[in-house]
Amino acid sequence: MKWRKLNKSQMKIEESAKKAKQDKQPFQESINEMTGNLTADLNLIRKEIGHNSDVTFREFQMGTTGIRIAIIFIDGFADADVINNHILVDFMSASPKETGHPLKNSSLKEYIKNQALSVSGLNEIRTLKDITSGVMFGSIAILVDGLEDVFLVGGAKVKTRNIDEPPTESLVRGPRVGFIENLKDNTALLRRHGKDQNLSIISSQVGERSKKELVIIYMKDIVDPHLLEEVKQRISKIKIDDVHDSSYIEQLIEDNFLSPFPQVQSTERPDRVMGALMEGRVALLLDGSPFALIVPVTFHMLLQSPEDYYERWMAATLIRILRYFSAFISLFVPSLYIAFISFHPGLIPTKLIFSIAATREGVPFPPLIEALIMEVSIEVLREAGLRLPKPIGQSIGIVGGLVIGEAAVQAGIVSPIMVIVVAVTAISSFTLPQYNVGVALRILRFASMLFASVFGLYGVVLFFLLLCSHLVRLKSFGIPYVSPAVSFRLSDWKDFMIRVPLFLMKRRPKLLHPKDSVRKR
């Protein structure tokens, strides 16, 4: 492994050399300040970004004064409404009062700023670099002949979709609101959802090349400062060219990349984020991604749905227990089947063993191969159904589920009991409210099947112990993953496998060390 280290150190040297080069460039660019001569300035800018087909230059004269003005923007990206209804109208109809002196430099600037331009966001910049980057990010640059300052107006107008119910986390009862791709809309959603002055939204940038805005959201007077510090530190260490989606952030800040379990929760629901913030967790939102990230995450959160709090406590508790049960089923039923069939026929009730033995008669494969055939084919079907367009996806389900299953039984490749086992497993894995937990359990299911086929029930128990020891060791941002079970805190069990009535949940979960622990008086 030594060569790798060597390589790394070499790379570091190269990197630092590159950095030095990069450092030089802005220095050169900073010389390129605007001169106030419109023709010269425009030529300079054209040379820099004029080769882009979508960069538009528009020259006109200011009202009756005859002062030349040019605006530069990206067609389709910059807000066309601002250009047409404000900038062009304002300037073309501008008629400065005759004061005697011709408008020049400072007076011209003041006039534009104070009387002519009717837009809210207005920046004055001078350097070429600022202009190009401003234009590239969707602003409109206004160059006025005779002025060294360039006005940068407005921001990008991005086409966004409507705020819909998130398709991956639909509820029977609860707000039908989901995040969208626009960060500002998302933070506004959160503000509207949680009307608390302590809701803090701190902005930072990630991405070396494509700089994207990432906001850290927390409750100022609830969150544990150490946790917040840890989150900030991990985010500051992200050095990557571009983050396409918040899942990049998730993978770059998680604790253990070898674990099959997700250590960051992702959700599209503002109410879920608000709930987590109120418990003292920290949420992250990335511009361009509808998925918010919640840290730290504990295992029981992944088996919960916001609906658990919207339903009455008895129904919620029942459904929660049901979810734990189905998680167990989706993890262990195929392996238990294998273990019982091939190692422990004595553990099956007498009447059942007769019917199982009868259905397995004529199946040419050992139980493991039989189970693998069915499990793999149902995973393939599920994946196929997911990738296909919706109308075809359904027919794939029918073809796969009914036709292949029935035909496989008829052909004697698998036994009908196996089909039941696989179907029960698949359906119970759908009850898990978070997709990525379902995937984790799918991976582990195959491992547990292999254990079962080698050691029988003993192997299944071994696998379970292995899994438990991994889970107990796992931490998410310093919080034990399976808390409050381990490390044991009885007071947090009120909102764990059961959900006690709301009036009993008087305190926030202790495991997150909230500053303000009182939830309800």
């Binding site: 007498t350 019917s355 050992p366």
Partner: protein
């Protein structure tokens, strides 16, 4: 690339090898197993032991499409030898697949063999083999035991039918089933006990009486008939349901009392060297049949008392009859008297336990029977006014 850590590499390779072991050493697929549900032990003509194993044919039971109605759902395989272990291996020469005893439910021992060999020795293999359950029931067959594992009815597994009849405990005319694990204790403490006797009627099984196993020799010495079993059940209070004749004179015409619950308490009394027992029997139930030739109103207390008295007398007759048989004819205690003495007078028991069965024949036993009728059935008194 430089070499990996040997530990890492070795463990990785061995993990990969593990996956190749998909059909593993102790793995036996259930469709290959011969699942035995019952076995019968007989004396063969040449004085050896003949053991018959009953295998289930799952295809004939399961609702698979290949099922043919004529196919029997079981097959019996028998072989002869001096003990059970070699016989078991002998049967594997005749039928493919390993034997699985985990679902063995019943062992039937032929009367001839049970009278000659101790039960403990005959059932030793069943105790020792690990996958056999302690809940396996032991029966004695009046005739040839192997024939009780046969049935002409389609779809019936005889061994399972035996067990199901035994476990339902519907009438006091059958014994409470005795599992293997309890027989072990009784055999070792040399306690006498009863085993359910199986008879054949027109080729089908019938529960008919009980075999008496003498504690000292652990061999069968005689038979109690169904009526005497009733007496045993009243003494031990272990019956769950059944009926008792509740009329004395023939002119009263049939009246029957149905047992809903029964309780009995055996109380030993020791004064000096003299041991005596008093048995309190209590039962509650209802009238289920009352031909009532004299049109007596059933709601009247006097009538009820009359019926109760008749039933009490009948129960008394049953228990006294059984006691006489135990004490005088066989000289064994199969009613659990010795156990009560052991519990309540351990010191006395120490002195008498060595020849308890002989002592027991001399001990006076008194009975108190009280029967309460709680329910008269659907017919009240008005109809008969």
């Amino acid at each position: 690339m430089k070499k990996c850590k040997p530990l890492l590499r070795n463990s990785f390779v061995s993990m990969l090898l593990l996956f190749l072991l998909s059909g593993c050493w102790s793995s036996k697929s259930i469709e290959d197993l011969n699942i035995t549900v019952g076995s019968a032990i007989d004396k063969s003509k040449d004085g050896k032991i003949r053991s018959t194993l009953q295998y289930v044919i799952p295809q004939a039971i399961g609702n698979s499409s290949s099922k043919s109605p004529q196919q029997k759902s079981y097959t019996n395989v028998s072989a002869t030898g001096i003990s059970l272990e070699p016989i078991g291996w002998e049967t594997t020469l005749r039928r493919e697949g390993p034997i699985s005893g985990a679902h063995q439910k019943a062992v039937i021992i032929g009367q001839d063999l049970a009278r000659d060999e101790p039960i403990r020795e005959l059932t030793d293999l069943y105790f020792r083999v690990i996958d056999l359950r302690g809940s396996t029931l032991i029966f004695i067959s009046k005739g040839e035991a192997a024939r009780t594992l046969e049935s002409k009815e389609a779809g019936v597994i005889p061994a399972r039918r035996l067990v199901e009849i035994a476990e339902q405990e519907l009438t006091t005319r059958a014994l409470k089933p005795l599992p293997l694990i309890k027989i072990w204790g009784k055999s070792n403490s040399q306690t006498s006990f009863l085993l359910q006797l199986i008879d054949l009627k027109k080729g089908e099984i019938e529960f008919n009486g009980a075999a008496v196993i003498k504690g000292r020799t652990n061999k069968m010495i005689g038979i109690l008939n169904k009526e005497e079993i009733e007496g045993i059940n009243w003494i031990t209070g272990e019956g769950k349901s059944g009926a008792v004749k509740a009329f004395q004179k023939a002119s009263d015409k049939p009246t029957y009392y149905q047992i809903e619950s029964m309780k009995s308490k055996i109380k030993p009394h020791v004064t000096g060297d003299r041991i005596s027992f008093n048995v309190k029997i209590e039962s509650e139930g209802k009238i289920t049949e009352y031909w009532n030739p004299h049109f007596k109103p059933a709601f009247k207390n006097k009538t009820i008392k009359h019926i109760e008295n008749a039933a009490e007398k009948e129960v008394m007759r049953l228990v006294v009859n059984t006691t006489k048989k135990m004490q005088k004819e066989f000289g064994v205690d199969v009613g659990g008297f010795g156990n009560q003495l052991r519990i309540q007078y351990p010191n006395v028991w120490k002195n008498v336990k060595d020849n308890w069965d002989e002592k027991f024949s001399e001990i006076p036993i008194t009975y108190d029977v009280s029967i309460t009728i709680k329910d008269y059935g659907m017919i009240g008194s008005k109809k008969n006014k």
